[in-house]
């Protein structure tokens, strides 16, 4: 056990390169098959066969058939979380979240394109929303992410998530807007990263003013409004 690099993947060996290739191939083929034949009408064997690996190998890369469908989402989300953690503490929670998404969109484009065409990702997005099993998974993942973001926001503002409802409320509003923007992007024609960025910005700007008010002060009693 010699020295290892801590950064994401790749110790630059041939091994890691092949692994990357296999994973990418599985992902691309899976999404392609899902979006053309439908998720339920695509078997894991089909995917594995197309990439010429065993089914067992597929499950070594992805814990489940479901997980492949969300692989790109996962990339985007973790990028967002990283950006959020990096925002300067002076920023209010809403500004931080807003800048984190926009920052994420700036850099994630190439990362996605390196793995799958953005257009394929958009088709995948549509498929997720129209496949009950995947929609369920999507909703669960969303609440998980919300909880994670709420925790980060609470940390930033030094609030207690258990007693102060404001982090969760703000995050819920924020992710709600994000979901609307995402859905609109999926329904639209423009598959570019530009368009999703623009949409996000537009929608978030509608929400901002309502949340800008007094933070870092004790919560009001229930029923009192801050807007």
């Amino acid at each position: 056990m010699t020295e290892r690099q801590a950064t994401i993947g790749s110790t630059t060996g041939l091994r890691e390169l092949k692994k990357q290739r296999t994973r990418d191939a599985l992902l691309r083929v899976a999404l392609e098959l899902f979006t053309t034949q439908g998720y339920e009408h695509t078997t894991v064997d089909e995917i594995a066969d197309a990439v010429e690996v065993s089914q067992r190998t597929f499950f070594r890369y992805f814990a489940s058939k479901e997980e492949v469908a969300f692989a790109v989402q996962e990339m985007v989300e973790s990028r967002f979380v990283a950006e959020l953690l990096a925002r300067p503490p002076e920023e209010g929670p809403f500004a931080a979240m807003r800048n984190a998404v926009l920052g994420a969109w700036n850099t994630i484009g190439e990362a996605i394109e390196a793995v799958v065409p953005v257009e394929l990702h958009m088709r995948t997005y549509r498929m997720i929303e129209s496949t009950p099993a995947l929609l369920a998974a999507h909703l669960r993942r969303s609440t998980d992410l919300e909880e994670r973001i709420a925790g980060i926001v609470a940390d930033r503002e030094d609030l207690d998530l258990d007693t102060d409802p404001r982090p969760r409320v703000a995050v819920a509003a924020f992710t709600g807007v994000m979901r609307v923007a995402g859905r609109l992007w999926g329904q639209g024609e423009d598959a570019s990263m530009e368009s999703i960025r623009t949409l996000t910005e537009l929608y978030l700007d509608h929400l901002g003013p309502a949340l800008a008010a007094e933070w870092r002060t004790p919560a009001r009693t229930p029923g009192a409004h801050t807007g």
Copy 2:
């Protein structure tokens, strides 16, 4: 194919009675096993064996293992929808929803108890929230129900669901409150129907004022507030 009664189940024959018994037994046993051993550690065979029917028969009563877990929820929800449809049109959307739940809680108690002990239903509720696969299903079901309610509300108020966001917003707020009440009930000690009714009422009364304002008037432009 002779004359049939259109009402729920039971043509009072021995046949229907046996069917009811089998279904109830499967449901009760399933929930009991789920809540004691955990959902994933319970196989359909176990359930079927305990009731002394074949696995195939289980699947004739319930489309999936998942469906059993939500059988009681299903009862409550359809009861709520029925009550909502029966509310007089003079009531505003919020009042109608509120009265529908409270009305539903008044009558659903016995219906539940006739099938499973309320206490078992409460344990089931907790289990659903703590089992990822079931939580996902729960969220999806919730959004389905929300959509259904939004449609009813839009109808009542003669609004277009596609262009007017208010029905969905109101329903989202309403179901959000309901979810909080439900979760609290699940976490609490008191497994009675009384307590869920009281909780519901308490929480809804906090929300009411904010939604009481001018309905049946054209929607404002985005950004304008009504509170």
